[in-house]
């Protein structure tokens, strides 16, 4: 990572922020049950236990997005990253995790590292990811099979890369928002916000675990597919 013990460079900042998005997106997918929990592996990052997907196609997709994002972060041409969670059947957008990115473009002219340690940046990132995890305590359960999409807001005059296309913003009608914490590398600042459909509906969640403990308490990610795969345990 291009950073010195005393500070951080533009390249290092882009890498840190891209790394955050990689873990952050994985955390959202895990906690919201978009993919079954057994398709995730537990790793230690930012001095905490996080989950990364082991699904090869999903990994490839996320790696493509994150690597492109790193370039845009270095060029200071990216403004937002949005994780959109929508109902697979109706395409209704249920949640929108929006990460606003502010870039200090003066860092492009000066190569002098900024005085902020990687450790302190990672501590701020940790608090954001902890908040993402904490949202399961009040977010409504996603009762339907869901899909996710990643949208990146870039400068208008940017040349669209080969494997990308323009998209609509996929906003939520009648939404409610909560703000999460932000973090800054002094070069890039990331502000996080969650919008959810205010017409959220509860679903009953049986909580009594079966004897083999295949069904988790309510705060674990709820995935229709996961429930399906474990249904055979409950005889």
């Amino acid at each position: 990572m291009s950073s010195t013990l005393k500070g951080i460079t533009l390249k290092g900042s882009a890498e840190l922020v891209a790394e955050f998005f990689s873990f952050g997106i994985n955390s959202i997918l895990y906690q919201r049950g978009i993919y079954p929990p057994e398709t995730f592996t537990r790793v230690t990052q930012y001095d905490m236990s996080l989950y990364l997907t082991v699904d090869p196609k999903l990994k490839t997709y996320l790696n493509s997005v994150v690597s492109q994002l790193k370039e845009w972060l270095f060029d200071c041409t990216v403004q937002k990253l949005v994780v959109v969670i929508s109902c697979l059947e109706t395409n209704e957008v249920l949640e929108r995790w929006q990460f606003d990115i502010e870039c200090d473009k003066s860092a492009k002219e000066s190569s002098a590292p900024r005085e902020k340690s990687i450790k302190s940046i990672q501590e701020e990132i940790r608090s954001v990811i902890r908040q993402i995890t904490a949202t399961v305590t009040f977010l409504p359960l996603l009762e339907t099979a869901c899909a996710f999409d990643l949208l990146v807001y870039t400068d208008k005059d940017l040349v669209v890369p080969e494997k990308w296309e323009e998209s609509g913003p996929q906003m939520i009608i009648d939404s409610e928002e909560v703000r999460l914490r932000s973090f800054t590398t002094t070069i890039h600042k990331v502000n996080s916000m969650l919008s959810m459909c205010s017409r959220a509906v509860y679903v009953p969640v049986p909580l009594a675990p079966c004897p083999c403990f295949c069904f988790p308490p309510f705060s674990l990610p709820q995935s229709v597919l996961w429930v399906f795969q474990h249904s055979t345990c409950c005889k």
């Binding site: 990146v152 296309e165 998209s167 609509g168 205010s198 049986p206 083999c212 308490p217 229709v224 399906f228």
Partner: protein, 404 residues
């Protein structure tokens, strides 16, 4: 395994200046990376794992019926029938719940009511004792469905006295107080669950646990189940996956015992206040959190009560917005002690009475104040209860945090 080539499908350039694109004031464009499915159509990544989602939905309904069979018998048969009214079907609008069929009370849209039996116990206590149920209320005649977050309105005033997020944050920062006002009364069991979940939340958010408590329990049990499958005794190192499982088990046992004994205390006495003391001593802790339910307790049992689950969501959303628990700085591992205010003659055995205990004043106290909106409870303001006969009880077990 060969991977699908990633290539762009036919570009769908949306109307640049039409309603489909939303250009921000600083003129941005929204881009997305597409992924090809097996038949060449554009497929969102989640769809690749959910090709059998139709079968999954069928299986989910089968699972629901299996679970109903498993839980039938005795008191839980009632819970089974209740769940049966709200199947896990995609996109299906759930039928009106049993409670609302009996007639809506004012300001109940969005929150379910529990019937309180003659003994003062809610149905959820007798039939779903260990469970938090989330019903899918669709009151007859409702227009916009229900919302986890929209506050029910008073028929009289048509308005809710609900602070906005900025005010919640400001009050929390300036006064160290987070106030949650429920639109109705709650049961004693609900009060226990509030405290229980707050304890779990504090332990995780204050970095005393590496992941959320319930997730930790789940993975620890899976670890145990996996080790029991082996036919021979296997000596495994205490640390696997970077975790000290012995410490994990110890902490989980401490928390489990604490929560069980708290439940017992709540069954014996009203508990208007609970203190969570982290680090230091009980007279001078490093951190102090109080759950104050004096106003909530005062109105408990008066008429029909709210369901626990929506109240929990309201509580944790408010806590989230107030942001009193998260900290960018690392918090070192500490021992957590719980003190609870209970009736001096309640007969609780596990907790130790501390007759001369005073709440520390030299440490900043974060107060989570829970109360009921009196105008929505169907009765006037409740006279504050007299807590003179209540003393502090200390949990004999401290919860020692562990990170890995």
């Amino acid at each position: 395994m060969s991977e699908e080539p990633i290539s762009m499908v036919s570009v769908r350039i949306l109307e640049r200046y039409g309603c489909n694109l939303n250009y921000e004031p600083n003129e941005s464009v929204v881009l997305r990376l597409q992924h090809l499915g097996v038949d060449g159509t554009a497929v969102l990544p989640a769809e690749m794992s959910s090709q059998s989602d139709a079968a999954a939905r069928d299986a989910t309904e089968r699972l629901e019926s299996v679970r109903l069979e498993k839980t039938s018998g005795g008191g839980s048969a009632h819970a089974g029938r209740e769940r049966q009214a709200e199947p896990l079907t995609t996109g299906a609008r759930s039928p009106p719940s049993r409670d609302t069929e009996k007639g809506d009370l004012p300001a109940t849209a969005g929150l379910q009511l529990e019937k309180v039996s003659a003994e003062g116990h809610s149905e959820s206590q007798t039939t779903e004792k260990q469970q938090l149920t989330y019903t899918s209320p669709s009151p007859v005649g409702s227009t916009g469905g229900t919302s986890a977050f929209k506050r029910p309105t008073s028929e009289a005033t048509g308005t809710c006295a609900e602070p906005d997020d900025g005010e919640i944050r400001r009050t929390a920062k300036e006064k160290g107080c987070v106030s949650v006002v429920f639109p109705g009364t709650v049961t004693q069991d609900s009060c226990y669950k509030f405290v229980c979940e707050i304890i779990k939340c504090v332990l995780y958010q204050r970095q005393q646990l590496p992941m959320m408590y319930d997730q930790l329990v789940f993975y620890q049990r899976r670890q145990q189940a996996a080790s029991q499958v082996e036919d021979v005794v296997v000596r495994r190192p205490a640390k696997t996956d970077g975790w000290d499982w012995r410490k994990c088990q110890r902490t989980l046992q401490e928390v489990e015992e604490l929560l069980q004994q708290l439940e017992n205390l709540f069954s014996l006495s009203q508990v208007p206040r609970v203190l969570l003391l982290l680090g230091g001593t009980i007279t001078l802790p490093k951190e102090l959190y109080e759950v104050n339910m004096e106003a909530l307790m005062a109105g408990a049992g008066a008429g029909r009560s709210l369901r626990t689950a929506p109240c929990l969501r309201q509580l944790f959303r408010t806590l989230f917005v107030a942001d009193i628990l998260s900290d960018a700085r690392p918090v070192r591992l500490m021992a957590t002690t719980v003190m609870a205010l209970g009736h001096r003659d309640c007969g609780v055995g596990w907790f130790r009475p501390k007759l001369n205990y005073r709440v520390p004043t030299q440490v900043k106290r974060h107060v989570i104040s829970l109360s009921s909106e009196p105008t929505l409870c169907g009765h006037g303001p409740v006279k504050p209860a007299d807590w003179e006969d209540y003393v502090w009880f200390q949990a004999p077990v401290t919860v020692k945090g562990f990170c890995k």
